[in-house]
């Protein structure tokens, strides 16, 4: 993450010397960001097996409360962070985008696991969305299948770093004309309409997967199914008992 460091111009050495004497120097921004990053409230929802790891992270052994993110909220209005934990099916995607739209600013998103990043093992399926970042911006991509609780904590720490380095005046939700709500996709005859939102996400021009693995191939010998004459009489009345 190429983040510009948001540091005060007071010398660090002087600061620590002063701290020993009981004088604390800080900037308003630092204080504000410290408060924000130490009380990230995630939205309470899980989609698949990654949710189990998220639950484990919230429990006593890994204890997400050490990072101030233990308050899983049941309402998007009270949440700061959306952890997309699990496979996003096409049927679920509109609801996720709607929940994101309903969250109050400032809002952040962690995609947890291979499925919510890019479809994961279901990438060739008809039913799974190939990454939630097609419809809404994502702050931290957290790979793994599923990521261990430590990985989720690491992702949270990355997010805390990002929050720490934000300047309040320059954050995107205070800028004029920036979009922070995104259209909710609809169900179409072949899948979701639209397939992605080009303002947020665009497909790679060269397919990395194809260049590396080539086109999909079905291996093995095809065995014909045995022939049978029991198709029944097409003129017979069916459904009689």
């Amino acid at each position: 993450m190429g983040l510009a460091k948001n540091r005060s111009e007071v010398d660090e050495g002087l600061k620590s010397e002063l701290r020993k004497k009981g004088v604390v120097i800080t900037t308003l921004e630092e204080l504000y960001n410290w408060g924000r990053r130490s009380s990230i409230w995630p939205l309470q929802f899980g989609l698949a097996c990654c949710a189990i790891e998220m639950i484990a992270t919230a429990c006593a052994r890994y204890d997400i409360a050490r990072f101030g993110a233990e308050l899983f909220r049941a309402s998007p209005r009270q949440a700061d962070l959306m952890i997309v934990a699990g496979t996003v099916t096409k049927k679920m995607a509109p609801q996720i985008v709607r929940l994101y739209n309903q969250m109050a600013e400032p809002k952040y998103v962690i995609t947890m696991g291979a499925c919510s990043i890019a479809g994961g093992p279901f990438i060739d399926g008809y039913n799974v969305l190939k990454g939630i970042d097609r419809y809404m911006p994502v702050d931290v991509h957290l790979p793994g299948c599923p990521p261990r609780p430590e990985a989720l904590l690491w992702g949270l720490m990355q997010l805390q770093q990002k929050i720490d380095n934000q300047e309040i005046e320059k954050t995107e939700w205070y800028q004029k004309g920036t979009k922070r709500e995104f259209p909710v996709p609809e169900f179409g005859p072949k899948g979701l309409i639209p397939k992605f939102n080009p303002e947020i996400w665009r497909p790679e021009t060269a397919s990395h997967r194809r260049s590396r693995y080539g086109d999909p191939v079905l291996l093995g010998k095809k065995v014909a199914a045995p022939k049978f004459e029991t198709f029944g009489d097409p003129t017979a009345k069916v459904g009689t008992v």
Binding site: D124, Y126, K190, V241
Partner: protein
């Protein structure tokens, strides 16, 4: 439960019925399914009163619906019934009048494989939404190419004030003019 015994008993019960045994399953004609299931459920000898599973298989030449019957009273099972129908005329009588639990499983088989069950009380899609076209678990179904915007996507995005890049728009226009759909690459078959 020996399928050969069941077969001979069914043949004694319904003279003229045609039954074949395939992999421990009894392959029936579609028109015989309901009366056979009803007999197996109600007869004192079998009491196969629990329908545990209905699933569908695509064999390319035909579609097959598979039923697993258990007996809760006698602790026997499964007895496997199979019904085969041609792809273009995939109609099988529904088992809902005999087993109420067949309802959702038949809806699932209809949704994924496109087998329509006659006399089903409420035959709708169960997993996919209304308006979805095609039956996604059939072997000839090819999913959409999710990385290419089609013209309806472009129209939708512009309706929602999203700026679509010119090259995507042009490509979608070309696709529409050629009357093509953006589908995923079909896997090529290779023998090893």
């Amino acid at each position: 439960m020996n399928p050969t015994e069941v077969k001979s008993k069914l043949e004694a019960q319904f003279p003229g019925i045609s039954i074949q045994i395939v992999n421990n399953g009894l392959v029936l004609k579609p028109e015989d399914l309901v009366r056979v299931a009803k007999f197996l459920k109600e007869s004192e000898e079998f009491k196969l009163n629990y329908l545990s599973l209905i699933t569908a298989v695509d064999y390319l030449e035909f579609l097959e619906s598979v039923y697993h019957l258990y007996s809760m009273d006698k602790r026997t099972g499964p007895l496997i019934l199979k019904v085969r129908v041609p792809r273009e005329r995939a109609t099988i009588p529904s088992l809902v009048p005999v087993f109420r639990g067949a309802e959702f499983q038949e809806r699932e088989a209809y949704d994924m494989m496109g087998i329509s069950y006659e006399d089903h009380p409420d035959l709708r899609r169960i997993f996919m939404w209304e308006g979805f076209e095609g039956y996604p678990l059939r072997k000839d179904y090819i999913p959409e190419d999710a990385d290419v915007l089609e013209w309806e996507d472009v129209e939708w995005l512009e309706r929602h004030d999203v700026k679509v890049p010119e090259e995507y728009k042009e490509f979608a226009r070309q696709l529409k003019a050629a009357g093509k759909e953006a589908r995923a690459v079909k896997p090529t078959e290779k023998e090893i």
